[in-house]
């Protein structure tokens, strides 16, 4: 059991910051390759014409999920040492809803707008500034919404823990669900392409 390396003291804060930059480069490179520096392609997800957001997101989630699961199973990765946020159900549900509305109105999320502005898109730059403004408004209102922000605390809870299912079963179920979503997405895109041709 030697991973995560940082948590086992293989390197210090400074190396972890270098890794942050390197990992960020990989992240940004992948997002740009996916077409996520382009708001029109991201927004197309919500009009069923190009389901890239779903395809990329769930391919990534399933890949990392399998990696974590199998490394844990082989005893080389201590999953409990990977940082993840506690669940605060209501704030996260409402936050997700507001964020989703912002996504389709603005066309990006914070990470993709960083790629967008880096590739010259003015709308990405304006969006990124908008995100900072939203965070500032949240910060200024924080004393008023702090009680809501910390409500519905459930601790650090996972899907297997909450539904009392085995870790392996949930991993398998998520993978199957993703595969089903991919097949539905391919089918839906074809359907929409035909509809567009018919016009």
């Amino acid at each position: 059991m030697n991973f995560p390396l940082f948590k086992f003291g293989f390197f210090g804060d400074e190396v972890s910051l270098v890794l942050a930059f390197v990992i960020g480069i990989g992240f940004g490179f992948a997002l740009e390759r996916a077409g996520f520096g382009n708001a029109r392609l991201l927004a197309a997800q919500f009009y069923f014409t190009d389901m890239r957001v779903l395809k990329v997101m769930f391919s990534a989630i399933v890949t990392a999920m399998f990696g974590v699961y199998f490394f844990g199973l082989f005893g080389i990765l201590d999953i409990s040492l990977i940082y993840t946020t506690d669940t605060f159900m209501l704030p996260q549900v409402i936050g997700g809803l507001i964020l989703g509305i912002g996504f389709v109105i603005g066309g990006y999320c914070p990470g993709t707008s960083a790629v967008s502005l880096a590739t010259g898109r003015i709308d990405g730059l304006v969006y990124f500034i908008g995100v900072a403004a939203g965070v500032f408004v949240f910060g200024e209102l924080f004393p008023l919404i702090e009680n809501f922000f910390v409500s519905g605390s459930m601790g650090n809870v996972s899907l297997p823990g909450y539904f009392n299912l085995s870790y392996g079963f949930v991993v398998f179920a998520v993978a199957i669900m993703a595969l089903g979503a991919f097949i539905a997405a391919e089918w839906g895109e074809k359907k929409m392409a035909k509809k567009a041709e018919g016009k």
Partner: protein
């Protein structure tokens, strides 16, 4: 299983263009797996996932603190990003990660001839209105991400892969919010 073969070769039919025009975007499944491996690298090396909105929070908290130090100190949201003055903005993991995201996006864009000073928008909206809505959308995103303790990177991708309950509830609500709103803002995109 023609659908399955479509999944594997999806985008191949977007033909390769002439050398200096923008290249077609990559296959979404292949790119998704690559993104998943980057996320996995963050897990096994550093013991944390990806993020984006957290970096913006650190930047905003730092600016507020430099303009109005007492105001920032009294606010537990800002002060949680200031670390009692023991670390600076460029010692923040997510800030460096997001700087990397910009560099990585730029490199990929250069290699594929996709760097272009432009505004991405639908055909029926003016540039001015598009930029106005980009700001509004970004503002909602920033506010929502703080309420949800993370955005698409920190919650959906990271928490999703770790099977975090709140992250999955969050992810469902992101899609619900976006699909519910899509019809009303269709003039922005189609």
């Amino acid at each position: 299983m023609s659908v399955l073969s479509d999944i594997l070769v999806s985008d191949k039919h977007h033909s390769e263009a002439v050398s200096h025009s923008p290249k077609a975007y990559s296959n979404p499944y292949v790119t998704g797996v690559a993104l998943g491996l980057v996320l996995l690298a963050a897990f096994v090396l550093v013991g944390r996932g990806l993020g984006a909105s957290g970096a913006v929070s650190s930047a905003v908290a730092t600016v507020v603190s430099s303009v109005a130090p007492e105001h920032a100190k009294a606010n537990s949201f800002y002060s949680s990003y200031l670390g009692g003055g023991t670390f600076g903005l460029f010692k923040d993991w997510l800030v460096l990660e997001v700087l990397g995201v910009m560099v990585g996006g730029f490199l990929s864009g250069i290699l594929a001839h996709r760097i272009k000073r432009t505004v991405e928008k639908g055909p029926r909206i003016s540039v001015r209105n598009r930029l106005f809505f980009a700001f509004i959308g970004g503002g909602l995103m920033g506010f929502g991400a703080k309420l949800a303790r993370g955005c698409t990177s920190g919650q959906a991708l990271t928490g999703g892969a770790l099977l975090n309950l709140g992250s999955w509830a969050f992810m469902m609500m992101v899609f619900a919010g976006a699909y519910a709103t899509a019809y009303f803002v269709r003039r922005l995109w189609i």
